[in-house]
Subunit: 341 residues, 2 copies
DNA sequence: GACTGGCACTCGTTGCTGTGGAGTGCCAGG
DNA sequence: CCTGGCACTCCACAGCAACGAGTGCCAGTC
């Protein structure tokens, strides 16, 4: 059963009004505020149909209507009008991000910016290790038989690791090892490394094999397999604006979810291309505690590669068009910024 | 005017009961629960005095009494009985922390542990750069004329920085620079470095002076002056337990304060010795948004040196003895852990 | 002088009731 | 298919009474 044009208009109006006022919206005030060219009685009939179809819901008899998750979904997919950012906002984005001095700073600024623009909770994933390429690997002798392995990626991320070697190594040995590792790995994606690393030991002089074996296993274990993905959060305080109304009882659950990095990474991290935007509304969220929230997320990265995700989380009754615009814009600017480095 | 022994007992009982029940406590229930060997009428008289002195407060006539900030202060200073951790808790601390693999992991585990033990918000400052000593400095050539400067501290912290050099450098030049820097700085506290760094350029061969000058200024600027202190947070969800009762209206303010790293650093970071414990109750907090909370913090570090702070934040009506014990114990274990490395 | 039992009083909490109004569903007529 | 009209529902709100926890104070006792 398809809804005719006017019913969609009514749904759109309901969503827009509800988002603006946070109060159930009735047929009378609807016709007043929007130029639906019909009477309230007609609208009432339409609303009855919309309710049958599950797009809106009545908290109780003789109350106005509230959009359901399904209603928001339809709104987002087909009804919402694009709401471009104001020039002032664009300038603010550009100004703020262009001042960043290093990767930490970029992520930090981005997440705060996003929280401020959307007035919601913002999440930004650090450029993922797996998707980055190795720029350089360095070995630093801390003590005889004790090295520090430092890896620098093309996204500016630096990871380091202490390594206890099987025996003491001379200065030249360390240089040899370093040269070899760089030769094989530099320029390659970390996700390809598991295939490359085992070959490191192959044509080493016999004396250095045990050392290289140790390094290989450390590389494999800690830098690759333990793909610790970091992320940054901001704007939690924004949750506490409409509290009681927005998160029926489960406000705490939302905060708990925000502390589980794993959950957030799932929300933000699983994106394929930087142009696709993913929206999860209410029940569509797998995680229990987030059933009363919506998440708008996208990938970002230099050019068309995705190196990480970012997004925004808020009550289901959030301003979707505005949020979508903000997330898109910020992701694009961050991508450009990374491309410049 | 000094309070006699029994009045202090009454105050202690009021604080303990209020912390347990979160409800204003009356004279009747007081004499029932605690073995005060007097009648409720006597207790009432005592309470009237305590109220005059500002230690307790009546929400409204004919309601029970609630401790004031001043009351909590007296309780903490003179009345609270030490409440040692259970052996199970001690074991949990030891087990959890001993599994840590690197500095990030230590901090992460610590903050979660603290949040769990106290059921409050926990904050842990990363070992501060200024208070650490330099273990090693490394220079990595990324491209001709472009270096990465990596600094490793005795607390396991690693900082890195991209440096654009005035001109291209040979392999040997880089080694010379590195040797020189390490010779002068390794083993010294970062806080002493501002005095040492200017001398770096002194007895360098003329050809390398511009390079060393560049490095010096970068070292000074970014590693020393921009003392970016990082910290880690956990247990925010614990705030949402008693919400409405605990933070009259200002729940949001608390969340906002928690996002301001500067504020948190002030709370946690200003500690002198690892043995002193600092408690700020309600109004004693400088920061506006935290006037309804209490903060228990202490320093930690290997041996008797302080390299960072950690602490717990919660409503003023928190379990002080328990929280104090937990904060002390965790700080001590972390200190031992750092000393081992 | 310090403590106690007793008593009158205060005032928030709880539950009940009634009214107003926003909003609905439905029907008959254009 | 739309509209005006009407009866109905039910929440929100205010007023009211009963209740009870808790107080302050006073007179009496050790």
């Amino acid at each position: 059963m398809s809804l005719d044009e006017r019913k969609l208009d009514v749904l759109r109006a309901i969503v827009e009004d509800y988002i603006a006022t946070q109060e159930p919206v009735g047929s009378k005030s609807l016709v007043e505020r929007h130029q639906l060219r019909v009477s309230s009685a007609t609208v009432r009939n339409d609303m009855a149909v919309l309710e049958d179809e599950g797009y809106i819901h009545q908290p109780h008899t003789s109350a106005g209507r509230v959009p359901t998750d399904k209603g928001y979904r339809l709104f987002v997919d087909r009804l919402s009008r694009v709401k471009p950012l104001s020039p002032a906002e664009r300038r603010a984005i550009q100004r703020l991000l262009s001042g960043a001095v290093d990767l930490d700073d970029i992520v930090h600024r981005t997440v705060r910016l996003l929280a401020q623009l959307t007035r919601q909770v913002a999440v930004v994933q650090y450029p993922s290790l797996a998707r980055s390429t190795v720029r350089h690997l360095e070995l630093v002798t801390l003590a005889p038989g004790r090295l520090m392995l430092v890896m620098i990626t093309n996204t500016g991320r630096v990871e380091q690791r202490l390594v206890d070697m099987p025996g003491p190594l001379g200065e030249d040995d360390v240089l040899d090892l370093r040269a070899k590792i760089n030769e094989k790995l530099a320029g390659h994606r970390l996700s390809e490394s598991p295939l490359l690393i085992p070959t490191l030991v192959d044509d080493m002089p016999l004396a250095l094999r045990p050392a290289m074996a140790t390094l290989s296993s450390v590389l494999l274990e800690t830098l690759i397999e333990r793909q610790e993905e970091r992320l940054s959060l901001a704007g939690t305080a924004n949750l506490a604006r409409g509290t009681a109304l927005d998160f029926p009882g489960s406000f705490r659950g939302v905060l708990e979810a925000l502390e589980e990095e794993v959950v957030l990474l799932k929300l933000i991290g699983e994106v394929e291309s930087p142009t696709t935007l993913r929206i999860r509304i209410g029940d569509e969220n797998e995680f229990e505690g987030l059933r009363t929230t919506s998440v708008v997320s996208t990938g970002y990265g230099p050019g068309s590669v995705v190196v990480g995700g970012l997004g925004v989380l808020g009550p289901t009754r959030m301003d979707y068009p505005g949020t979508i615009a903000a997330v898109r814009a910020v992701a694009r600017y961050v991508g450009e910024l990374l491309a410049q480095n």
